[in-house]
């Protein structure tokens, strides 16, 4: 045994050295890679929007999926045109669907409003409008029945603990842990870029030039993928079952309860990704469902799906999200058409736009 002891000790030392070398290599690589591709500043998330909503005195609330981030430009324009008198709070709930918005309203927004409005000096007394940014995809229920984005994007620790007690540690509630862990490493490029893919693209561009990132065939292939996906949704049971639209009914109840006017904004889609068939089937069905409810409940619909002035180059390379410049174009168009009433909110509440 005594002969073996030094050998075992040296093996432990070797393991410690290997571990140290791994850690040093990873952090050194991260340092070098940050010079090629610096981490992007964190995107605005639901929690950021919610903090702003709680600390400000908003006149209108903009709630939507990641697409809602495009309405930060609208927020700025409205503030600019009204000399800061009208304030919009933007709540982007990444990967949101109608049921996710319902969850956020019932579990985050409504409890806050109730608490605030019962206080002596309510912060939200000016709040009169809810702009719900949506599109056909939000009307398709998630495969497992639960919108997977909620834990990562809208939960607090309290929600996580109560779900774990009820369900055990599931793929669904694990995403809360994953997002919390990831937020600790936002400053590194190796961790913050996982799943985003900027770093591999930057490395590729450095090695081969930007051309190889997207060939005409792969570009066209992705367009076709979007077209097929949008057309295919017409027959998708998840999109036909109408479950998500029930969430809209709950959202309408919420607006009535808190005396808010609801405006449903159908967010623009990239023109090339929509075929005539997609427009007349998937998109048309969703818009019709909204219009039927609008008649019953009296809410406003601004349909920007294909009527906005946005062109293909106003969309990001994911063909889904609007670029910064596109967001400004969209804001200008919206304020000169369906959302012009936002500019009138500076007037006394009694003279609000009908």
């Amino acid at each position: 045994m005594s002969d073996l002891a030094p050998e075992v000790g040296s093996i432990w030392r070797n393991i410690a050295m290997i571990f140290a070398a791994v850690v040093v290599t990873v952090f050194a690589a991260d340092f070098l890679l940050r010079t090629i591709c610096p981490p992007i500043p964190p995107k605005m998330e639901f929690s950021d929007g919610f903090s702003e909503f709680v600390s400000g005195k908003p006149n209108a609330l903009v709630l939507g999926s990641s697409h809602a981030r495009a309405y930060v430009a609208l927020q700025k324009k409205v503030s600019q045109f009204t000399s800061g008198q009208v304030h919009l709070s933007v709540l982007p709930l990444e990967w949101g669907k109608l049921s996710s918005y319902q969850w956020a309203i019932e579990n985050r927004i409504a409890p806050y409003l109730e608490q605030d409005r019962s206080s002596a000096n309510p912060q939200t007394s000016q709040l009169r409008h809810l702009l719900l940014v949506t599109e056909w995809w939000d009307g398709c229920s998630p495969d497992n029945g639960r919108a997977v984005n909620i834990p990562a994007r809208a939960w607090t620790l309290k929600h996580f603990v109560s779900d774990v007690i009820k369900e055990g540690l599931t793929d669904f509630n694990r995403s809360y842990l994953t997002s919390q862990w990831s937020s600790l490493w936002r400053w590194t490029i190796l961790w913050s870029d996982r799943g985003i893919g900027r770093l591999p693209r930057a490395l590729w561009a450095r090695a081969k030039g930007a051309e190889g990132l997207e060939t005409p065939e792969s570009y066209q292939g992705r367009i076709i993928w979007w077209q097929n996906m949008t057309e295919g949704a017409f027959e998708d049971p998840n999109c036909k079952n109408g479950k998500e639209l029930e969430a809209l009914d709950h959202i309408v109840e919420f607006t009535k309860k808190f005396n808010l006017e609801l405006t449903v904004v159908l967010h623009p889609r990239m023109p090339s990704t929509l075929t005539v068939t997609a427009k007349s089937t998937t998109l048309n069905r969703f818009a019709n469902e909204l219009h039927k409810r609008a008649v019953v409940h009296g809410f406003r619909i601004v349909d920007a799906t294909v009527t906005s002035p946005l062109q293909d180059n106003d969309f990001m390379s994911d063909f889904d999200h609007v670029t910064e410049q596109g967001s400004v174009t969209l804001a200008d168009w919206a304020l000169s058409s369906g959302l012009s009433f936002l500019l009138t909110l500076a007037e006394p509440a009694t003279q609000r736009h009908p």
Partner: protein, 488 residues
């Protein structure tokens, strides 16, 4: 929580390992830690089904002890044995297949089976297909006197519950695991380094190879086969073969690596199956613990005991592989998959017999059989058959099977291709590089290179491992990682 999840790597494994190192080095304490860890791991999957697992452990523990005590009374001994087998099999059949069998029966009678299927669709306890086979093997071994019944409930609980093997195996035999668990384990530094290497390679196979190839070529081709060209369908199919290998071999390596951290050696589950030149050889290298189980506990007894199957080797293959297909999932495409493999083994057996006869009569056939061209043809035939047989394995239902088969034959409606970008191709190449590294590692040259690497100074090896970690961080998205075999 699975072996690739963040909470596993960041919390569960380090804290569990620390606890394991800190308790007194006796089997009782070490097994107690493993039972606690495995219970936490198990509860993180299907907490509502934990009672089924607890009941199974208790019933099998008591049954084996009773069998051993009743060895002098053959009738009672046999009754307890069969009761244990029926209990284990019945539990699996009821939970996993009740809906499938009832719905198939109703469809045969022309009735609507949707309600039946959903009313008999149960949440499956995680890994039930794996640990049921493990428990059946235990009962058979105890009944035949190959293994003594375990008298320590803690040891037996770890034997069944040991967390790395729970979701997807490997399926250890009693003689492989019980003796290890009955002794105290010293966590040797060499085991840590071997465990870490297996864990890293497993992680690469799963997250770089399987998930990388799946997202770039497999999912696009399978998502909408009616819209894809024959070439795209073939790329998607070959990609799926690599994906499923990476997924399952990766998981097995990760489980083996985790086991080594606790001083426990789990059995190997894969030995470079893509080098096989016959289907029989292939199944000796792919999912080894399942296939050896099937041959030792099903095929062997079926053909050697007196009865209809005695000596009917070919029919035995078809039946055993049909059951293997059903084991993989309660759907007809899986049964078809198993059936074609059974048939292939039967055909191969007959061909092999004929070839041996030819070799005995004419030495030219021996030369031919040893030639490079012959080996290439045999390899090509074996691997092509395996790849094509994955169509029913991957298909969710018979309609999808038909549509994908049509796309493979060029009968799709639109015939467009999948167009990965240059960067995506680069990622596929990186994945194939890892896949090739794993396979080369199974050759003499690969072993020599690995030994050379291990002789390098520790910091140099650390830099090598660190670069692999960097590659994983660059190419593997966060939050991925469901294992295909965890659903079986």
């Amino acid at each position: 929580m699975n072996l690739g999840s963040i909470e596993f790597f960041v919390l569960f494994l380090p804290l569990g390992w620390l606890a394991y190192l800190l308790v007194p080095r006796t089997p009782r304490f070490q097994n107690a830690v493993l039972v606690v860890l495995s219970t936490i791991f198990y509860l993180s999957w299907t907490p509502s089904m934990a009672w089924i697992m607890a009941l199974s452990i208790s019933v099998n523990f008591v049954a084996a002890l009773a069998m051993e005590r009743l060895r002098t009374s053959p009738g009672k001994h046999r009754a307890v044995f069969w009761a244990a087998i029926v209990y284990n099999t019945g539990q699996l059949v009821f939970l996993k297949y009740a809906g499938f069998f009832a719905a198939s029966l109703m469809e045969l009678m022309g009735s609507d089976s949707t309600a039946t299927r959903s009313s008999l669709h149960f949440i499956l306890p995680i890994g039930i297909s794996f640990w049921t086979l493990q428990l059946i093997a235990y009962q058979i071994d105890v009944a035949r006197g190959r293994t003594a019944a375990c008298r320590d409930f803690l040891v037996f609980s770890v034997f069944v519950l040991f967390f790395p093997q729970i979701p997807s195996g490997p399926i250890p035999r009693p003689h492989q695991l019980l003796p290890q668990l009955s002794k105290s384990r010293h966590v040797e530094p060499s085991w840590i380094s071997k465990g870490a290497a297996a864990l890293l390679m497993g992680y690469c196979l799963k997250f770089l190879v399987a998930d990388g190839i799946a997202s770039v070529v497999v999912q696009p081709a399978w998502a909408d086969p009616a819209h894809h060209s024959a070439l795209s369908a073939w790329v998607g199919l070959v990609g799926y073969a690599i994906q499923i290998f990476g997924d399952f071999a990766g998981y097995s390596l990760m489980a083996i690596g985790c086991g080594r951290f606790f001083g426990i050696e789990l059995p190997q589950n894969f030995t470079v199956p893509f080098f096989s030149t016959t289907m029989a050889d292939f199944w000796r290298r792919w999912h080894i613990t399942l296939n050896s189980w099937l041959f030792d506990y099903l095929y062997g007894p079926l053909l050697t005991t007196r009865g209809f199957f005695r000596g009917r080797f070919d029919l035995g293959f078809v039946v055993v592989f049909g059951l293997s297909g059903l084991w993989h999932g309660a759907s007809w495409p899986f049964v078809i998959w198993g059936f074609v493999h059974g048939l292939a083994l039967a055909i191969h057996r007959r061909w092999d017999e004929r070839l041996r006869r030819l070799c005995r009569t004419n030495r030219v056939w021996v030369t031919r059989r040893k030639s490079f061209a012959w080996k290439c043809a045999a390899w090509m035939l074996t691997q092509s058959f395996f790849v094509v047989s994955l169509v029913p394995f991957r298909a969710q239902n018979l309609d999808e099977l038909r549509t994908f088969a049509a796309a493979l034959l060029g009968f799709s409606q639109h015939g467009s291709a999948i167009y990965p970008s240059g960067l995506e191709w680069a990622m596929v190449i990186a994945a194939l590089g890892v896949f090739a590294t794993y396979n080369i590692g199974g050759t003499a040259t690969g072993i020599r290179i690995w030994k050379t690497f291990l002789r390098l100074p520790a910091p140099v090896r650390g830099i090598g491992y660190g670069l692999v970690v960097v590659m994983l961080l660059i190419l593997v998205p966060v939050g991925t990682g469901n294992f295909i075999y965890a659903q079986f």
